[in-house]
Structure formats: C-alpha cells, structure tokens
C-alpha cells in the first residue's frame, strides 16, 4: 500500500552542517533501501522550540516527504529513535488530506464557470437531483 507521509524531525542545534548533510543523506538512502521514495527534503532551519526538549531550547527542523508503506515508516522511525542527534520526530500521513483538497479544488473549479453563466448553474442543479 503506497501512502504519502510527512516526516518531521528536530536535530540538536549544535550539530555541524556537514554532519547534518551526512545524516540527511544516510536517512534518504535508508528510505530507499526500505522500499520507499523520498519526494522532497525541506530544511526549515533553526527554530526556537515551544518547550524544552532534552534540555534544548532550539532545534533544526527537517521535513521529509516520503512515499511508501507503513513498514518504511516503521523502519525509519526505529532508525531515528536510535540516532542520537535527533531529539524529536513525528510522522503524519498526508495522502488523505491531499485527496480531500483535490476534491475541494475540483468542486470549486466546476462551480467557477457556473457563476459566470447563471443559467448553466441552474441547469446543473436541476439535473443533480435527477441523477441522485
């Protein structure tokens, strides 16, 4: 089952840039070996944490967008848990939300021409109950 996930994790702020690069590239390769694909990697940069995490007040946020099965996520989370510089992570499933938004967009687009020509919209609403 292919699903898309967003994996956000926080790395300790005192980490060197090259170490961070290495960490990200190893994680990417681990996703690939687990059978998933990395759609995008977004470095959101250093941010102040809303609360203390492992005695850190700041953290470097990184966002992965992944496609794959639940097994990929499980494996990746296990890896993150044992990776020392990662202080917090969270995985969110996004495909259903994306589907919902695509639906809304489609509805809105189908309505837009209806507004331009009111008779067409009326005809549309007239046929809707008949089909339902």
């Amino acid at each position: 089952m292919q699903r898309s996930y967003e994996l956000m994790f926080i790395v300790r702020p005192d980490m060197a840039d090259e170490d961070l690069d290495r960490l990200i590239s190893t994680l990417e390769s681990q996703v690939a070996t687990a059978g998933g694909t990395v759609k995008s990697v977004d470095r959101m940069g250093k941010r102040r944490l809303a609360y203390m995490v492992r005695r850190f007040q700041d953290g470097v946020y990184i966002l992965f967008t992944i496609e794959g099965s639940g097994a990929v996520v499980r494996e990746l989370e296990r890896r993150l848990r044992v990776t020392e510089p990662v202080i917090k992570f969270m995985t969110v499933r996004v495909d259903e939300e994306q589907k919902r938004q695509a639906k809304i967009k489609a509805i809105r687009e189908s309505r837009a021409p209806g507004k331009a020509a009111p008779p067409a919209e009326m005809a549309e609403t007239g046929t809707a109950p008949a089909t339902a």
Partner: protein, 117 residues
C-alpha cells in the same frame, strides 16, 4: 377545558342567571389575555452583538496544517489552550481539523502544551 366552560358561562351570567355568577368569579383570574401575546420578558439582548463567522469559510482556507504556526497561533490562547469555538466563531468541521493540527504542532514543539515557560 376550564377556560371553555367559563367562556360559555360568561354570556349566560350576563343574561342574568342565579347559579352561573357563583362559578364565574372563582375562574375570572384564570382567563388571561396577555398569554398569547407572549411578551412578559422582552429585555433579553440589550446590545447588538456582531455575528461571528468562520475565518476558514470566509477566507476559503483549505488547508489547516500543523506547519502553519502563524495561522494556528491565532486560535491558541496565551496559556497554550485551544480557544473554544464559541469565542472564535469557527464552524464545527474547521474547528475539528484545527484542533488536530494544533495537537500535531504541539507534538513537534511548534506550539506549547502549556504557556510559555
């Protein structure tokens, strides 16, 4: 039932009968004309309150995402609590998604669980 009998007896009493007036005075407090008007308490709302509207419906914000801290922060009180619908005017479906987004944001330390430490 009692009102009906009084109404029928009232004209009879006016015509001049011995017995009906005896029953009549006891029931006269019963028939109450102001009741159908239904206006003893008209006070109620003293000042006009602007109707609250759902921000997400009005501005057509489709995505309520945990990453959008600026947006979420508007619906979080200073103490870190989620502001109830009755104060913000957000509609039920949007409030539901808003609360999940806020909870996700809290989990990844974008928003506080409890006010600023």
């Amino acid at each position: 039932m009692a009102e009906e009998t009084t109404r029928t007896t009232a004209p009879a009493g006016a015509d001049g009968g011995g017995e009906p007036p005896a029953a009549h005075p006891t029931v006269t407090p019963g028939p109450r004309p102001p009741r159908p008007a239904r206006g003893p308490r008209e006070g109620g709302r003293k000042y006009f309150r602007r109707k609250k509207v759902c921000k997400f419906c009005v501005e057509k914000i489709d995505s309520i995402n945990y990453k959008d801290v600026r947006l979420l922060a508007q619906f979080v009180a200073e103490s870190g609590k989620i502001v109830p619908r009755r104060l913000t005017g957000v509609c039920t479906p949007h409030q539901r998604r808003l609360s999940t987004a806020i909870k996700q944001a809290r989990n990844i330390a974008l928003l506080p669980f409890a006010g600023r430490a």
